[in-house]
């Protein structure tokens, strides 16, 4: 079998596998729904997810250990992942292939030539990793203060080593090094003691924006599958999915212009692997010098890595097309160097690198100037249960959309600007779109989160049972009654759908009874024939007061309970035989027709912010009871109560 056929089978297999994993990330009992499939496997294989979270959190979460396999193989083999595994790469490959069909050979060669723009991806990688590494840099800057012994020993070793190095070299360099080293150490110590480093060096993981695996999973989960599956019940909605879908389609269609555009110019994962491929044992290269210059090898070169000339190892995606297409068998994948030479390191400049590094360091503190992670926090940013505090959450979330797809009620949505720029496409709860609120007995999102931005939490922890009784349930926010919109509060209409649906026991929503005298509800008595009272001004709608919610009381009869009306004509009301009149209303006295209201109140000690009340509220536009993030467990500073009981 030809090597490219094997590659195509591998690509097809992994693409279908990813599709399958996305598809089965659905709660339910059908055979195609979640059954312990390792649905996060691709994200776990992704070394950029692993490296990014490692830089920002200094840990490697659960399944992310899988990335070692990819890293190891890439170091040995080169960027095999791009052409053999990566599902996004496969899509680009296919579309690029279709786009270049029928084009003359020369045009295809031209579209696969190396472009200087391909270095952009390394700058993007540097930018993203630097933005994630703020906390690491903080540790480094703080070393003189936090670990003085280590610092002194390290500094001494460095100075001595530097001096030895300088002396061993030509006469021109020593002075430069002897000046530079103390200056650097001086700057370091100055930074440590005079810079408010913890405010300036901040971590935020933004690799997920461009990392191809989270990108393709997000697009499948939130835009493509709901779009294709719109006919399937029940339909899924995601706020702002159009943008996710547009980014995806743009990345796919640009292949018609330049094949593998995304892989060559943008992909930070490809850039990372390009760096790792530097020491690859096996490499693509020319095996002899008899090349006739026919350029067939470059007609389908996926990486635009110039295999005919000095091959760029960091750009080569191991598509094997050159090996397959060379008529003279001059291309091979071997341990021997290419006879036409090779470039192992990426074509990047020191200046560009420094610039992207500096932007990465500056970007997050700059974004945080809006204060959204601090005092200007957005109460509309309600995170799924088990989410970490906002700064820690932003160090982990890769915006893959798995929590949004698995959520059985479709309430987890990709954030727009609710969480600021760095919160784009991170999960936020929306109780209007979904099919209910956060289900009491569900822990799915925490189980699927590949990076622990949403912690793995148990049902006992969520409900505050057993060993969690002391700390209480996980709260995502608190419901607030909008008394200006609530029917019993503002419009004299009974309702309490919110109270009925409150799922906790005892209910967080409780009611207080209030008898409200109706508009034009004071009537003058004309006569009485218990239990019926006849009134003078007969403007009542017959039967209207018989619903069971209307009561009547004698005006001025302090302390007497209102009596339930069981029937009325246009000029009489009859009260229930179960609550007869104590004093017969006399002619000339007044009675008040009242509606019995149960007005809802929220007990913040019991409310978990599940949002079922908001979802069910019959005021269906802007709801009369709404959850906001106050009192969320993940951030004690947002607590409403003096003690988080």
């Amino acid at each position: 079998m030809r090597i490219v056929t094997v590659r195509r089978i591998s690509q097809g297999f992994f693409l279908l596998l990813l599709l399958w994993f996305c598809l089965v990330s659905t709660m339910g009992v059908e055979w195609w729904q979640i059954r312990g499939w390792p649905v996060s496997w691709f994200l776990e294989l992704d070394p950029l997810v692993a490296l990014g979270t490692m830089l920002s959190t200094h840990t490697l979460y659960r399944g992310l250990l899988w990335s070692l396999v990819t890293v190891g193989l890439t170091i040995l083999l080169g960027r095999f992942f791009c052409s053999w595994v990566c599902p996004f790469g496969t899509i680009h490959h296919l579309v690029g292939f279709l786009g270049s069909r029928g084009k003359p050979l020369a045009a295809r060669v031209a579209s696969n030539r190396y472009r200087r723009g391909q270095r952009i991806k390394y700058y993007l990688l540097t930018f993203l990793l630097t933005a994630a590494a703020g906390s690491l840099m903080l540790g480094l800057v703080r070393t003189p203060a936090d670990r003085p012994v280590l610092f002194v020993v390290g500094a001494a070793a460095l100075v001595l080593g530097g001096a030895a190095f300088a002396l061993s070299k030509s006469a021109a360099t020593p002075r430069r090094y002897l000046v530079l080293l103390p200056v650097l150490f001086g700057v370091w110590i100055a930074l440590c003691f005079f810079l408010p480093a913890e405010r300036v060096l901040l971590s935020s993981l933004q690799t997920g924006l461009l990392d191809p695996i989270p990108l393709v999973q997000r697009s499948l989960n939130l835009a493509l599958l709901p779009f294709v599956g719109a006919a399937a019940a029940p339909p899924r909605y995601y706020e702002g999915a159009w943008l996710i879908g547009t980014v995806f389609l743009a990345a796919v269609f640009v292949n018609l212009w330049v094949p593998r555009f995304y892989c060559r110019f943008i992909c930070p994962l490809g850039a990372l692997m390009g760096v790792l491929a530097r020491f690859a044992l096996w490499r693509i290269g020319r095996t002899g010098d008899e090349c006739k210059g026919c350029q067939l090898c470059e007609t389908a070169c996926e990486g635009a890595c110039e295999p005919r000339a000095e091959i760029r190892i960091s750009e080569c995606v191991l598509c094997m097309n050159c090996v397959d297409s060379c008529r003279h068998d001059l291309m091979g994948y071997r341990t021997v160097r290419s006879t036409s030479g090779e470039r192992t390191s990426p074509d990047i400049g020191r200046r560009g690198l420094l610039l992207s590094f500096a932007s990465g360091v500056a970007a997050i503190p700059m974004v945080r100037l809006s204060g959204l992670v601090g005092s200007n926090w957005n109460p509309g940013l309600i995170r799924p249960p088990g989410s970490l505090s906002e700064p820690d959450f932003l160090k982990r979330c890769i915006k893959c959309g798995q929590c949004m797809r698995i959520c059985p009620t479709n309430i987890i949505h990709p954030a727009g600007m609710e969480g600021g720029l760095e919160g784009l496409w991170t999960p936020v709860l929306n109780f209007r779109i979904g099919r209910s609120g956060c289900q009491l007995n569900c822990v799915a999102c925490g189980h699927l989160c590949p990076t622990g931005a949403i912690r793995l939490f148990s049902l006992d922890e969520k409900l505050g049972r057993k060993e969690f009784r002391e700390v209480g349930p996980i709260r995502v926010g608190t419901a607030f009654v909008d008394q200006g919109r609530c029917l019993p509060w503002a419009m004299d209409r009974p309702c309490i759908v919110c109270q009925e649906n409150c799922p906790v026991s005892p209910k967080a929503i409780f009611t207080r009874e209030y008898y409200s005298t109706m508009r034009d509800g004071i009537l003058v008595v004309d006569g009485a024939d218990p239990p019926t009272v006849v009134v003078a001004d007969g403007h009542l709608e017959p039967g209207r007061l018989a619903s069971g919610d209307y009561y009547c009381t004698l005006v001025g009869s302090n302390g007497e309970p209102p009596r339930r009306i069981v029937d009325n004509t246009h000029n009489s009301v009859t009260v229930s035989p179960g609550s007869p009149w104590v004093r017969i209303p006399r002619r000339g006295s007044s009675i008040a027709i009242q509606v019995r209201l149960q007005r809802p109140y929220v007990d913040p000690a019991l409310c978990t912010g599940c949002g079922i009340c908001e979802h069910e509220c019959p005021v269906s536009g802007r709801r009369a009871i709404r959850v906001s993030a106050e009192n969320e467990s993940r951030n004690p500073r947002h607590s409403l109560m003096p003690r988080d009981t």
Partner: protein
């Protein structure tokens, strides 16, 4: 341009103008859009009751639902009286909440399995189990154990799909006019049995057999809570079941209708089976420690001729099991 070219062009232009003109005339709408009233034919829930059997009620005490419901149905003449060979039966459960069976917020799965089994034994051709829950349907049917119980008994579970609703208007009601109801499970059904637990309900006082038909409503049905007693009465007018089974083995005394804690429940060990849904609810009220007169919807449904609130007048068969 020669003559031939001119003619050719003139013909093409003529066809284009004619096409544009005829399309515009064909689609021309002189009136404009109307007020947007509901389209499509109205459906009516058929009458599933068996008037020739009269009003019967059996009240059986015991802890084992399979035994108590079996004895109660037996006491009313046996399932054969209600279900004939070839009948297609709909079991309307209460699956409103994604809550485990032990919390009694939903129809007990064991009770459901037993009733479905009795239907099949009596010769039913098919048994459908359905509800339009409040929480996420899949979670509700799964967590409540209803899905598994129904399947293991050979019944078919129908979840409310988007296209499963049709519009109904119930004569004699004020609220149910042009309102969507869950129609798909009702199609082709010849007998209807309601299975509901006895639960406290802060707004209406109680959620029992009649309130259980709320789960047949679609749309933003929550607006009916403004007039809860009227809607429950209207539901009784809309649905005339073959039989209702009101499960008071465990009664939710507080925090209803969701419950959520064992502390909300009380063992009342009573199974009520009746052809009269008003009488069943009136009897169920006593388990909650209230009287039928405390529940306006019972009084109003009785006044509307849907049954009797004085269930003792039906001379209930009272039995005890175990």
């Amino acid at each position: 341009m020669n003559r031939r070219d001119f003619l050719r062009r003139a013909v093409k232009a003529g066809i284009s103008i004619a096409a544009a003109g005829s399309l515009s005339l064909w689609l021309h709408d002189r009136v404009g859009p109307g007020r947007g009233e509901a389209k499509g034919d109205l459906v009516r829930v058929p009458d599933f009751s068996l008037p020739e059997l009269g009003r019967r009620i059996a009240i059986v005490t015991g802890t084992n639902r399979r035994e108590t419901v079996g004895r109660a149905i037996e006491a009313l003449g046996g399932m054969d009286v209600f279900i004939k060979k070839g009948d297609r039966v709909l079991l309307k459960v209460n699956a409103a909440f994604a809550s485990p069976p032990v919390l009694s917020a939903t129809t007990n799965p064991e009770l459901l399995a037993e009733v479905a089994g009795l239907c099949f034994k009596a010769g039913a051709a098919s048994v459908v189990v359905s509800d339009n829950p409040i929480n996420d349907p899949v979670s509700c049917f799964t967590l409540s154990g209803i899905d598994e119980a129904a399947r293991s008994a050979g019944a078919k579970v129908m979840l409310p799909a988007e296209g499963a609703f049709r519009t109904t208007t119930v004569p004699g009601t004020t609220l149910l006019r042009g309102w969507p109801i869950l129609w798909e499970p009702l199609q082709g059904i010849t007998k209807l049995i309601g299975l509901a637990p006895v639960k406290n309900h802060h707004r209406s006082g109680a959620s029992m057999a009649m309130k259980n038909w709320y789960g047949l409503l679609g749309g933003r049905r929550n607006i009916f809570h403004q007039d809860i007693n009227t809607i429950i009465k209207d539901l009784a007018l809309m649905v005339r079941p073959t039989l209702v089974i009101l499960d008071g083995t465990t009664t939710m005394m507080t925090n209803g209708p969701t419950g959520g804690s064992l502390a909300d429940l009380k063992q009342t060990n009573t199974m009520i089976v009746s052809t009269d849904q008003v009488a069943a609810d009136a009897c169920g009220a006593t388990l909650l420690g209230i009287t039928p007169a405390d529940l306006p919807f019972i009084i109003r449904a009785a006044a509307a001729g849907m049954g009797t609130a004085d269930f003792e007048s039906l001379r209930p068969v009272r039995l005890s099991v175990g």
